[in-house]
Symmetry: C2
Subunit: 190 residues, 2 copies
């Protein structure tokens, strides 16, 4: 089954180039993105929330204008393989999720998603074949309205120079920047 | 100044396609990514942390194998325009940041980064010209070691079906999934 304007093979190549390898999650995610987009009125300006940080963000970034860096895509890790796509002005949209009941017909896909077998026993070729054959038929779709705080974009406010590190930072973060407040996950060596 | 293997114009086109428009932050970010990469030993497998969620993640995703979906890129919003790139096994690497002292020679770039002028008074053309002319000369570089918890990848553990929504979720998240625990930022309408 095609993924939007791409054949499965074309999308596999795009995924390999962007994600490092043709990960099953990004391929399945491609069908999920297209299912959601098709359900929105044509031409609507949308944003997306990924409910998983694994793979799904890359399907969204490859197939929509939404990215981590333009903040039209957000990742809120709820541990579910699902995404919501919504009109950025009204907040109305859809949620596409993997419907566990629909996985019965696709044993390799189910075993992979539900982690039923150790990786060494999984058959990668059959898994990709099932993903392509199933397409969006393993997915369910719901109507949602995003909470209103997602409709406003945060403004950064004034920028100052941190008196500790000397770098620019949003003054709203406090007297010193968040890095110097202890948020940096590294030690400076030199 | 070229950005890695790309001319400035080529990279501008890549940025426009991925990010929606040739955002100054992604262009400056491109020089920062290449400065960091050049400082690491050739061939080292690296991961990246972006200290800003604005623009910089897209420069990283366009120029390295690291992405939001493969988790080789992480965004830890410290409010500083900086990134760390480190050997994924040893944690040793570099941090590239915008050095406020080096901005003096680039008034449009400084005004934009420090938000010294309202958007309407900024000159977008001059800003891009200054970014291209300055390249990585507005950046500083430091040696860092990432905290060791970043060297281990979290394992998801067993997957179960959430007794509330019926979807697959990591059992380590609790008796019900995080979405059903109240984490979902939307209301289900149908």
């Amino acid at each position: 089954m095609n993924i939007g304007a791409h054949t499965f093979e074309e999308f596999k190549s795009l995924v390999a180039a962007f994600h490092g390898y043709p990960a099953p999650g990004v391929l399945l995610g491609g069908y999920m993105v297209e299912m959601a987009r098709t359900a929105l009125p044509p031409g609507v300006l949308f944003e997306v929330v990924a409910e998983s940080a694994k793979c799904l963000p890359d399907a969204i970034q490859l197939l929509t204008p939404c990215s981590a860096g333009n903040n039209w895509m957000k990742v809120i890790n709820l541990g579910r393989y699902a995404l919501v796509m919504y009109d950025k002005y009204t907040g109305e949209g859809v949620r596409v999720y993997v419907d566990a009941r629909r996985l019965e017909a696709w044993p390799e896909l189910r075993a992979w998603l539900m982690k039923e077998k150790p990786k060494a026993e999984q058959n990668a070729e059959n898994l990709l074949k099932e993903i392509e054959a199933a397409g969006d038929r393993v997915c369910g779709i719901q109507t949602i309205r995003i909470h209103s705080r997602f409709l406003e974009h945060a403004h950064m406010g004034e920028v100052g120079l941190c008196p500790v590190c000397g770098e620019g930072f949003p003054k709203n973060d406090g007297a010193i920047c968040r890095g110097c407040q202890g948020g940096a996950p590294y030690d400076l060596i030199g």
